[in-house]
């Protein structure tokens, strides 16, 4: 029997619309290339209106352009965005037993279970069903988005007739007439009209259907191929009509004899392959070249390796372990595995935020991969490298004479922010990307990659600080930018931005001096016209960076004017007014000392040496009172900083409040898609928070604390090709080198050489 933590399941599936739509996201299958929301193959109750469900499937990085109307067309405002598309639907399978159609909404569901198996990498639905006329069946449906063969999605359908013999009709569809979901009432959702794909071809070849579609504006093509396999004698019929291929099997059932039917679907796209139709054919051949069982085994092996690398375990709390595992499972489902994709806030589980990539990738998701799977972290950087030219263009649009400015939200690299004060004005995205590259370097010491790609990003984005900032009374100031907190926009000297820019500029100087003498660095210097003088400018700006500090409160103000804003007691705001952004005009929010999420506190986490512990403590206490946590990116950071400050109970409370965000649908919008950054934040709260992990130039740091409710916990970190298991108990911490050579580590500030294992008493 599987361990309880290996799966998340619902017994006796609730058939109300709320739960079913939520399940579309919670049980979706994805592998970082494709994502398929979890829909009943046979469909839902007749009369459920369209829009109650979002039976979508996505491809990471596949997009169409859509017009974005600006109410006033100021220079440089974005008027065309990109949106992630819903591609051909390969899910539908209908079953008819002597004319009676299987449905969860007719007859009687005697028992049912929906399970997300995070070790096997599949979702399984089991149903014991009695038809209206009394036929009984045991149905088991297993779905997989393969980590081994990324374009592949399979539905493994088994029917065991219990008391029925007779004709069975299986009808499996492959439908290219798909629309994007629209919810005009929610500002966070796309509100464009909705059919973006036009058919290029629809054909049957060698028993498989191929649907190739093209976007109107971006000119991208996607091909999906579906092959249906029934393991018993049958009659087979194909019908193609208007971009919709239906395959029908007529067969015979006998009580106790299992009918097994497998639906293979592969997807390919013209971003990655010149001829996506041919590629789909090759992928189908590959998928069919081995028994499905072999693909299941490979899936399990991939995940075994994955779980082993993470190694997270909370001792004695199975339910929490399941939640954490669920979070980590979402991360590997969501993250792009090549330079053409990245991680959207909803991963590949829904088109909330239109599938755009934000700073979430670098600041909430990448820290996990950097610490456990640097090869994926590297891919995320390669995505940014691929779009560097567009970041240069974006900088020019915003009036900068040099450098690159990454877009606040994008799919293919161009800015998609409709409202720039809380979009393009978040210049910290440049620092965030540089920070993630530096972190990758600190974890791997992979200087070749820095030379090849990382340094160019770091230099070009560092240049932008020089163009955006200016010296004022001897200090380097950065004016008119927006920090992470979107409840205060277009401010001067946002502490988060300035301290991050300082770190960024310093590292640009370090990379320059480290790479200066290395082969091939000349080429980069020439390519981007980088001069020693500029590097000196970086140093000077970093050295004189203005970091706002309030003498009276002994905190870092969020920006120059934050502390002069009006107070607003969160306790007096009606519960129904949260999130505030849906109930208050931006000017009202800007005018108050109120935060959507950590800003200065976030800076205290990512650059925790920049201020004294006293300042960090004061800041934490100050901002805690005025933060609404209206963003799902918020609580995990408060948890981490509380842990750092020794407030373990508080850290645990924050962690508890956010760790089950999706499973409990706390924000009431998980149906739009799971919250990937929150999942990353849950990881960070344990490893960077309780575990105290920090990647610094001087080495790797741990400072584990133990929440009272836990008897212990463990996790693993990979750095410089070594993997270390960390096990924290009440009285001691164990560090064990599992893989690789001996490493220097810091625990509670003290340096150790980890050769085999170390047991350190907890202070």
């Amino acid at each position: 029997m599987q361990r309880r933590t290996a799966f998340y399941e619902q017994k006796n599936i609730r058939l109300d619309k709320y739960n079913l739509k939520l399940n579309e996201a919670l049980f979706h299958n994805a592998n970082g290339y494709i994502g398929i929301r979890y829909d009943f193959e046979e469909g839902y109750e007749k009369g459920y209106e369209k829009g109650h469900f979002i039976p979508s499937q996505y491809i990471n990085g596949f997009f169409e352009y859509a017009k974005m109307n600006q109410a006033e067309r100021l220079y440089g405002l974005v008027e065309e965005k990109q949106i992630m598309l819903n591609v051909a639907d390969t899910q539908p399978i209908r079953l008819f037993f002597d004319g009676e159609e299987f449905s969860m909404f007719s007859g009687a569901v005697l028992a049912s279970r929906l399970r997300l198996d995070m070790e096997k990498g599949v979702t399984v639905r089991n149903v014991l069903w009695r038809s209206p006329r009394g036929k009984e069946f045991y149905i088991s449906i297993t779905r997989m988005a393969s980590f081994y063969q990324l374009p592949l999605f399979t539905i493994d359908y088994e029917v065991l007739p219990l008391n029925f013999s007779g004709d069975v009709l299986i009808e499996s569809s492959h439908n290219g007439n798909v629309f994007n979901y629209v919810d005009p009432s929610d500002p966070r959702m796309c509100n464009e009209a909705a059919q973006y794909l036009t058919s290029v071809g629809c054909e049957i070849k060698a028993g498989a259907s191929y649907i190739t579609s093209r976007t109107f504006k971006s000119g991208l093509e996607v091909c999906s191929c579906v092959k249906n396999v029934l393991f018993q004698d049958c009659q087979k019929q194909f019908i193609i009509d208007n971009n919709d291929a239906v395959c029908r099997f007529m067969t015979t059932a006998r009580p106790g004899e299992r009918i097994r039917f497998i639906k293979y679907a592969v997807f390919s796209d013209s971003i990655r392959h010149e001829n996506c139709r041919d590629r789909a054919e090759a992928e189908m051949a590959l998928a069919r070249s081995v028994p499905l069982q072999e693909l299941y085994e490979k899936q399990e092996a991939y995940l075994a390796d994955y779980w082993n690398n993470c190694g997270i375990e909370i001792e004695g709390d199975d339910e929490l372990n399941t939640s954490i595992r669920f979070s980590l499972y979402q991360l590997i489902q969501a993250v792009g595995k090549d330079q053409h994709g990245n991680v959207a806030p909803k991963g590949l589980s829904g088109d909330g935020y239109e599938g755009h990539f934000f700073w979430d990738s670098e600041m909430y998701i990448q820290p996990f991969f950097t610490a456990t799977n640097p090869a994926i972290s590297r891919k995320l950087i390669e995505y940014r490298y691929r779009t560097l030219d567009m970041a240069r263009e974006n900088a020019a649009i915003l009036g900068h004479k040099a450098g690159a400015l990454y877009p606040w939200r994008t799919i293919m690299g161009r800015e998609c922010s409709g409202y720039f004060p809380s979009g393009s004005a978040q210049y910290h995205i440049n620092g965030d990307i540089a920070y993630s590259i530096i972190a990758y370097y600190l974890a791997t010491k992979d200087i070749e990659f820095i030379q090849e790609k990382g340094a160019e990003i770091v230099f070009e984005t560092a240049r932008l600080w020089m163009d955006v900032g200016n010296f004022h009374e001897g200090k380097f100031c950065i004016n008119d930018v927006t920090g992470p907190d979107e409840y205060t926009c277009i401010v001067n000297n946002n502490y988060y931005t300035n301290v991050l820019a300082q770190y960024h500029l310093n590292w640009a100087v370090k990379f320059y001096s480290r790479l200066k003498t290395s082969d091939g660095f000349d080429r980069l210097v020439q390519k981007i016209g980088l001069s020693e003088e500029e590097i000196e400018g970086f140093s000077k700006a970093a050295e004189n960076m203005y970091l706002p500090y309030d003498e009276r409160l002994k905190i870092n103000p969020q920006d120059d004017s934050f502390l002069q804003k009006k107070s607003w007691d969160i306790g007096e705001i009606p519960k129904s007014d949260f999130p505030l952004l849906l109930h208050y005009h931006p000017l009202h929010l800007y005018r108050h000392q109120i935060c959507k999420q950590p800003d200065t506190v976030m800076a205290h986490f990512i650059l925790d040496d920049a201020q004294s512990e006293e300042t960090v403590l004061n800041s934490f206490n100050y901002y805690e009172k005025i933060t609404t946590h209206d963003s799902s990116l918020s609580m995990c950071i408060f948890s981490i900083v509380a842990a750092r400050l020794g407030m373990v109970d508080k850290a645990f409370e924050y962690f508890e409040s956010t760790a089950r965000l999706d499973l409990l649908d706390k924000n009431n919008n998980t149906d739009d898609g799971i919250h990937v950054a929150n999942n990353g934040g849950n990881y960070m709260a344990i490893v960077y928070g309780f575990g105290g992990l920090r990647l610094k130039e001087s080495g790797i740091y741990f400072a584990p604390v133990l929440p009272e409710r836990w008897s212990g916990y463990s996790f693993k970190v990979t750095f410089e090709n070594s993997r270390v298991l960390v096990r924290v108990r009440e009285d001691e911490c164990l560090f064990r080198l599992e893989i690789g050579r001996a490493q220097k580590i810091f625990v509670y500030g003290k340096e150790y050489l980890l050769e085999d294992s170390l047991c350190i008493s907890r202070r």
Copy 2:
């Protein structure tokens, strides 16, 4: 013969598209209720594409709602705007002489002249035309928008055949199928699709055509009635087809015998009249009840009175006098004469800025009327009073618990700003409106009107300062607002806003104490729930108002952070980059010390006692270097403040640069409509600038200076029912009481009693 300054004319009308489109605005006919752009009645050259001309007619305050898409739908953003509509076209008149059609583009125009007669209040086109087959005619067309009967527009058409006898066909159209002009390339123009009116009725009654149309969303109706009168024997035919009424006259021409044809058009709307169809009939009857000549005489009498009230004369510069007269003529053409209309930046001469009303009304146009025609000034205040409830609603949308916030741009009273940082965030609109009411009071001492309407506005808008501002370190601060300069948005403690709020709050207190004991004031106090405590709060906030001041530069910084922004040498910006707003991203503009128009300098004009002359001088010098004058509201204010500071040459240069903005089409957009605020600014530059007029609580002030290029100038000011002529010469100023009782006046700071006339030597 008329004086040169009585008219503006073009001889030998240039027939290129640029000039003809410009003339549509320069020679438009309006009276504050209706406005008709100047189009050739016979049309233009075949093949001129649609959109080259904008043959529109407008009604002040008549609007339709239009959807305004917000790229990101934040709470409270405006999603529906109002737009001024183009109503039925009553201009077209075609002439056929034995089948040859009159056109300026066929045959030969032997001579032509287009004249705007500002004494008679008409435009006249004279053409000596030879047809392709050699027929010669002298044609004279006189157009009038009646100031006496506001709904009336007339075209008085005379044809003198010189060598032709034969059949004449006159075809006069009245067309209800009209569209709004669209220029999607210009962010300052409406870019909505364009037909807003649907036909309700189209009929012929008693020889007149009636077209009644209704808007789709606002549900407003407009009726236009046209009656054609030919003063000789003729056959008459009416054709009505699809909302288009055509009236045809067939008559006979003989050489030397004048043919006279009059086209009467009246307009009425359902905002002002319950049944606008019936009202149009009544108006037509009224217009037809007297000979046209009598209407011409009334027009001339109205204007004689108008010119006599303004009394502006520059000695020895006819050309400049014509320009000034042109400006003043536009003001009386544009200004609304009832509480349902106001003044759009383009008046009724074009739909630039979609016909919205801005602060231009109070700060650039009303000062002229307050000083010369307070009854009109009062109407402008009544318009604001009528929309006070919507200003209360607007305040609530922006999160305010009390008070009223006037919209930045509107027609019927609701906010139409698409981009709030340079729209709704301009809270100074409240102060501007209060300022105009205070100025009206200072000029008239009309305390009854203040009690009846003015005070309610002043109190409700004053309340908003209390809700938006907050005390910080003992000073009252106003955060997150935008001042007049739209190149710097959402700032803290904008000097203009704060000093105006201070004045506003102080006057709210004064009005309260002056009205406290008067009859009926209780009713107002109860209606709006005003308490003594609140009034004390006003006092305290005003007393402690934070007014930014920089010790080093000895200037008032535009806002808290203005001086820490980057410098940008205007001299180094390519000429083609102006106006900057069309070439730079807002963030780029915000980040630099660069001004679109005066902001602090504007404050130094309107509240010139708030700072020492030294500070004003320093500010002037500082901001002058960084102001682009990208707004047509800019140079006149610099001229005024330069005059105040004794820099008369500089004042004159600014005046010279802006005084002929429309006539020389300096901004290359007068075809969109004349610049009414600039016209008001031209007046202000003379009277408030060179003449030094100020309305203060202590009395009325003059401090005339004389530009070197002028030998003298004069103007008239009406206050407290007295009218004073001011004549400035090199060595002396003459003040003569023309009407009313003796008044106290201040000249160069010294008090005089003006009983009959005073002659004061110029310092």
